[in-house]
């Protein structure tokens, strides 16, 4: 990779964004918060995976999916199934009528582990499943929809329907899925207790690193020819098609990428929160995730992360201070964001903060130039 291509991949200002976010996630948060708050931030960041996926697929590709919770949930459930099997060894479940199977199966008169649970005894399989199950599912949806040129509002409605179907399926098949309670009481990962404070620190950093890997992948897609094609497709799909590109394949691909990101988020969520339930799969959480992305600015992968953090932080703070009125405060926040900055936090930054920063930077530079006569000041010194 030449210097030129690195420059193209990561322009200077993007590098600054990356570094700022890394500083915030890896230094500022861990130093300024206790483990309880940090664990909450870790939970919020798992939603950011979904939001980044949405930036690619909605902001760039113009595919509005209102069912990203499905993929978040699938990833989370894969992880939860592995953890649940580990915590349901015959020793700790000996009061059940069938020891060795998850407790909720026992309550539902199931006497033998269903076949699709069996492979989740294996950790490598679980890791693969977390990525592949949602991606393959997204691929099937994508082929079925995009090959037939279903798009726009119709696609959004269909994704909602899928989210709703999956929720009903999970709740209805409670013997196999844990139903409305979800899969709870997860304790260890390969014998490592995930509920201790030290484990929470480690999981937080693992989560952060994975988030940055996803951010880098997203940045790569954004800056590649694929990214430009996505933008072109969003603006004028026909022209791209007439230029000889197979539009549907690009759409399917980006939809699968977004699904895989969401699934990683879901798996990390399960690890950090200690359970998974159908309440993340349905329509409401899926729409909430679109809101995170919209608040952040749907064209900015960094905005998506900040938007997720802001909305969730506000949710926690408002609900702690005003348990009975907090939903109004959240509503006000959404309305004011949409009214005042339609392109989200990223838009606000671009239109207000960045010009101001540049102005200040030039002012300081000029000040130094004037004070030191004609000798130009080195930017490293001035800032």
């Amino acid at each position: 990779m030449s210097i030129q291509s690195i420059r193209e991949f990561m322009p200077k200002n993007n590098l600054v964004y990356f570094l700022c976010l890394a500083l915030l996630i890896f230094v500022v948060f861990p130093l300024s918060m206790d483990i309880f708050r940090l664990n909450l931030i870790g939970k919020y960041l798992t939603y950011a995976f979904v939001a980044i996926g949405l930036v690619l697929c909605w902001g760039y590709g113009g595919i509005l999916s209102l069912g990203q919770g499905v993929f978040f949930g699938l990833g989370g459930y894969c992880m939860a199934m592995f953890l649940k099997l580990e915590s349901s060894d015959p020793e700790s479940t000996k009061i059940q009528s069938t020891p060795g199977i998850p407790d909720f199966m026992d309550w539902n008169q199931i006497t033998e582990l269903p076949w699709f649970w069996e492979p989740f005894y294996s950790f490598p399989f679980t890791l693969l499943a977390i990525l592949l199950v949602p991606s393959i599912f997204a691929y099937i949806i994508g082929v079925a929809m995009f090959k037939r040129r279903v798009g726009g509002v119709y696609f959004a409605i269909i994704t909602q329907a899928i989210a709703s179907i999956l929720t009903i399926l999970i709740i209805g098949q409670q013997g196999y899925t844990g139903g409305v309670n979800g899969i709870t009481d997860l304790r260890t990962l390969l014998g490592w207790n995930i509920r201790t404070d030290s484990a929470k620190y480690i999981l937080y950093f693992v989560n952060g690193v994975l988030l940055f890997i996803c951010l880098l992948v997203a940045q790569f897609i954004r800056k590649s020819k694929l990214g430009r094609l996505l933008l072109a497709m969003r603006e004028r799909e026909d022209r791209v098609r007439f230029s000889g590109y197979d539009v549907s394949n690009f759409k399917i691909f980006i939809f699968c990428v977004a699904a895989a990101f969401s699934a990683i988020g879901g798996a990390m969520f399960t690890l950090q929160v200690g359970f998974m339930s159908p309440s993340f799969v349905g329509i409401v959480p899926s729409i909430e995730m679109v809101i995170f992305c919209a608040v952040g600015g749907r064209l900015s992968i960094f905005g998506a992360v900040y938007g997720t953090l802001l909305v969730n932080w506000a949710k926690t703070t408002f609900s702690e201070s005003f348990p009975e009125l907090w939903l109004f405060a959240m509503g006000a926040l959404f309305i004011s964001v949409v009214m005042a900055f339609p392109s989200g936090l990223a838009g606000l930054y671009k239109s207000k903060v960045e010009p101001w920063l540049i102005q200040t930077y030039t002012n300081i530079k000029r000040y130094y130039l004037e004070r030191n006569g004609t000798r130009p000041a080195e930017s490293g010194e001035t800032l």
Partner: protein, 418 residues
């Protein structure tokens, strides 16, 4: 003077790098607490207890779909706390509460439970309603050793050292009710119906086992998703199979549709052909269903607002003074009201707020002032209480037609019913 000097500097440092100091801080704090409270056996584990206050948590949904059900519990718990404070508090300390909103969302419940235990160091939490929310917070309570007072009647199959279950587990609600309908109404055939989740399913499982044990017959069993509103097909099946009893465990908003459609289909519950016995409709639900739609149905509960005893009269009066004349009180609301009182009794018996000591003191705690009459904590952390059958009236109240003579023993893991 010395302290005045030390504290600001500490604050300043902490503003720069609290994280770095937090480990040191924790050690220092635990030292301070240990030395300060070593003699103070009232609170040896660093709970939020001062010389004249003790802090507890209230954790229910006050927003979202469950808010309508859980509001009564919040009101009852606040009323109990207020009354306890008027009597001088617990071990001479006034109770302060921190209320958190679970927002009808199970992960939020887990988050808030953790906040209450870890950040606020509350001495007890009164809260949760659905089984799903309890399952979500259970690992949190067990990990951080908190104490939860859980008010709802539920499916059983659970017994945590960190929970006191003030509602009935399934057998307490089901067995006596079915015995009554068999003995007094001569019922022979049953149609089981429920919303599709763990509580109705487990309850119906116990009901079916008990019915079959009595040599009687279940002619149908059916479940519908939460929020379902189309019951016409099951009503047609009921008309076809002609069971003596419809055993209904439909919950939440579905109830409204179910009872209205029953009535519209020409099934007059007052004629008791078939008779309807439910364990999921309290006075709170009737508000939504409408008394005229459910008039004539029977419910098996441990508490009805119309119970005729001095405790209940005083309770209903106080409740109405606090929250208005038109308020209704359901089974769970009363069970929630017991929570703070049971906790107070256990703390006073233990002479300490320590969770472990409260847990040890809890079995055998009696409450003679309970609105439902008399309750006692069983070693399995559930309550001994009576089962009662009420007949729904047009005005939305139940008329008590039967109550068990003895207290029913709680049995969360019933043998032969699994």
């Amino acid at each position: 003077m010395k302290f005045k000097f030390v504290f600001p500097t500490l604050k300043k440092i902490s503003a720069y790098g609290r994280g770095l100091l937090s480990t040191l801080g924790i050690i220092a704090c635990s030292f301070a607490l240990n030395t300060a409270n070593a003699a103070d056996s009232v609170n040896s584990t660093g709970l939020a207890v001062t010389d004249d206050t003790v802090t507890v948590g209230i954790l229910h949904s006050v927003t979202g779909t469950m808010a309508i059900s859980e509001t009564g519990s919040v009101q009852a718990e606040k009323l109990a706390i207020k009354q306890i404070n008027e009597m001088g508090g617990v071990l001479g300390r006034k109770i302060k509460y921190i209320q958190e909103d679970g927002a009808s969302d199970w992960p939020t419940f887990a988050e808030k439970a953790k906040k209450l235990l870890v950040r606020d160091k509350v001495a007890a939490v009164f809260g949760c309603w659905t089984s799903a929310s309890r399952k979500a917070v259970l690992p949190v309570f067990e990990q951080y050793n908190g104490m939860l007072y859980y008010p709802t009647f539920y499916e059983g199959l659970e017994q945590s050292p960190n929970v006191i279950y003030t509602g009935q587990e399934a057998t307490q609600q089901i067995i006596a009710g079915i015995d009554w309908v068999v003995e007094k109404k001569g019922a022979k055939t049953f149609y089981l119906l429920g919303s599709d989740y763990i509580w109705p399913r487990t309850s119906n499982k116990i009901a079916r086992k008990h019915i079959e044990k009595l040599g009687l017959k279940v002619v149908g069993e059916q479940y519908y998703p939460l929020g379902h509103t189309q019951f016409n097909s099951v009503i047609n099946k009921i008309k076809l199979r002609k069971p003596d009893v419809i055993y209904a465990i439909v919950v939440g908003g579905s109830n409204v549709a179910f009872y209205k459609q029953l009535k519209a289909a020409g099934i007059d519950l007052r004629k008791e052909k078939p008779l309807l016995l439910t364990i999921s409709v309290t006075e709170d639900e009737i508000l939504g269903i409408g008394g005229e739609n459910i008039e004539g149905a029977y419910a098996a509960m441990k508490y009805f607002q119309s119970l005729d005893n001095p405790n209940n009269k005083a309770f209903v009066k106080a409740f109405k003074e606090e929250y208005g004349e038109n308020i209704v009180i359901g089974d769970v609301t009363q069970a929630a009201y017991l929570g703070p009182w049971l906790w107070k009794a256990a703390v006073e018996k233990a002479g300490s707020f320590d969770i472990d000591k409260v847990r040890e003191a809890s079995p055998g705690i009696e409450l003679t002032t309970a609105p439902e009459g008399y309750v006692k904590i069983h070693p399995n952390h559930h309550l001994w209480s009576k089962t009662r059958v009420g007949l729904a009236q047009r005005d939305g109240q139940y008329k008590v037609v039967y109550e068990t003579e003895e207290l029913m023993e709680p049995d969360p893991f019933p043998e032969g019913y699994q």
